[in-house]
Amino acid sequence: MKVKFFAYVRDKEYAGCREISRPACEDLKTLGEELSEAYGERFRHFYFSPDGENFGKELIILVNGRRAEFLDGIHTKLKDSDTVLIFPVVAGG
């Protein structure tokens, strides 16, 4: 499974890289927990809502190009062939 990071999530205070390849984990919640474990509290606060049960409000997360909200939310299942994209809320035009 590929996980790609964008904008400030690439900074060292967060993921500190553009992309990682890793074995799939069960779902987006597990992924968030494992990444927070690796990257620290700042990342956890970004990824999760304060109660840890949902996404943080500044997170945009896509699985194979679809926003998790249109899949199964934080319980979206993952497999090895998936690509997960992680953005902060961004805009432009």
Binding site: A7, N64, R66, F87, V89, A91
Partner: protein, 604 residues
Amino acid sequence: MKNGYIGKILRVDLKTGSIKTEPLNQKSASDYVGARGLGTKYFCDECDPKVDPLSPENKLIIMTGPLTGTAATSSGRYNAVAKSPLTGTIGAANSGGHFGPELKYAGYDGIIFENASEKPVYLYINDSQVELRDASHLWGKDVYETTDLLNEECGETFRIACVSAAAEEGNLFAGIMNDKHRAAGRGGIGTVMGSKKLKAIAVKGTGSVEVARPQPFFHECISAREKLAAHPVTGAGLSAYGTMILVNIVNGVGGLPVNNGSAGSLFDTADSISGEELAAKHLLKNKGCFGCSIGCGRVAEIKEGAFKSRGEGPEYEAGWSFGADCGIDDLGAVCNANFLCNQYGIDPITMGATIACAMELYEKGYLPEEDIGFPLRFGDAAAMVKACELTCKMEGFGKILGLGSYRMAEKYGHPELSMSVKKQEMPAYDGRAIQGIGLEYATSNRGGCHVRGYMISPEVLGIPMQMDPLVTKDKPATLKLFQDLTALCDATGICLFTTFGIGLPEIAGMYREAVGSDESDAEILLKGERIWNLEKRFNIAAGVEKDTLPPRLLREKLPNGPAEGQVNELHTMLAEYYAARGWDAEGVPTEAKMQELGMASDRL
């Protein structure tokens, strides 16, 4: 006046040289607010919709809004209004910087230019001293040279809006450039100015703008600014990465058109033309417009190599048009082409998309190499920059590219390969992967355009709510609301980017206190709807073609990405959209709607 307006309009007859001031039409100002709305109202009252856009009879109106130049956030905006030579629709182009506020400080809400001059001239405005001056020595000069020469001539503190040689030579998508780098960019509004032999406007003012209820107004402004500062996008994201930050996310949802849209909308190397890459490698500093805390502008430099150059931008749209749309992932080439467009004052969206269209025509064998003078393949960065430069200078094949993609593709027998609506190129989002933006392109009153109702906000970014880009449900009604709110925002004179962080309550709040009105939010929003309907009525009277999309979006299924297999479902959305607008099945505003908006007795 003490209501956000100055209360005076300059009327300049370029043929006779007469310059008059007249009182602002307060009824029109109240109904149509300002800038885009009020400029359009004046235009529709005074101009025949059938006018040839490049004839002296087309008027050019520069108009500010009641919030322009006040303490309201990001209030550096003005609009330039004329009939567009590219689309034949009403053309209103919006620009920031400092020019708009300066015009108000000089004592005018707007300027109406009539007829055409025989010799090149520029308008000199130093408070009440207003003169048409000879501009023969500026004719043929680019935007930077013209601005520098006028600043030498008039004084450093003058704000300059001008056109370049491309506009003079009839490039159909030339803009008016102010403060060197800010553009009233789309639809060839600068071409109209060039056709009038009006090279520039130089303005300096020492006055100020007074509002009706200063204390409450100030309070509204502070509160809006606080909301913008607290929002992750308007508080931090836009200033850190600029608008190019969108490249990766739009590509992420499979909505970034590649190779003129012929190769789908998923660009493998999108990251190399992204906002992250620009910030990491080429960004010198940020730059903001008048009174703006967001500061989305970029000053960037390509330090070495074939594309060594320096300038402002690129914005996301140009990043795409010269990048993915031409199959190019060289950010240096993208920046170089964008800087050329600024220097020569042409619209980079139409420019890049027209080159992409030429590349497809060439690769398919419809456009002979002899006509271009060199091979023009997707992915060839040097050829792309060369094509751009030729168009900026209106030399060789650049004269054909300067017609825009529709007229060029038509000339070569394949207008269906022009990715345009009403002859204006669609910007950087594929309407097959993002349904609502397709409806926006089809219905925009100035042809293919994203900034009339920015559906990317809910469909991709989740602001202010989240909508699935792949479905059509609820898109028509949402788009109508966005279009009306955008028209209102543009008309007040503040920047549309503020609407990522604030909405109707804040905009209406600032407007109310500035003009001294007690209208409700809904009544104020209705002014936006009125503007939209006036624009539409103008277009119908002008005989503009019906609302549709290029056949590629309606029939060619996306070959890849998350939206694979999709086309734009325009037919299901359009009827619902017309119903939401209170228009008939043909998209004509009904009598009942005109009554509701108080427009029944208007000329148009």
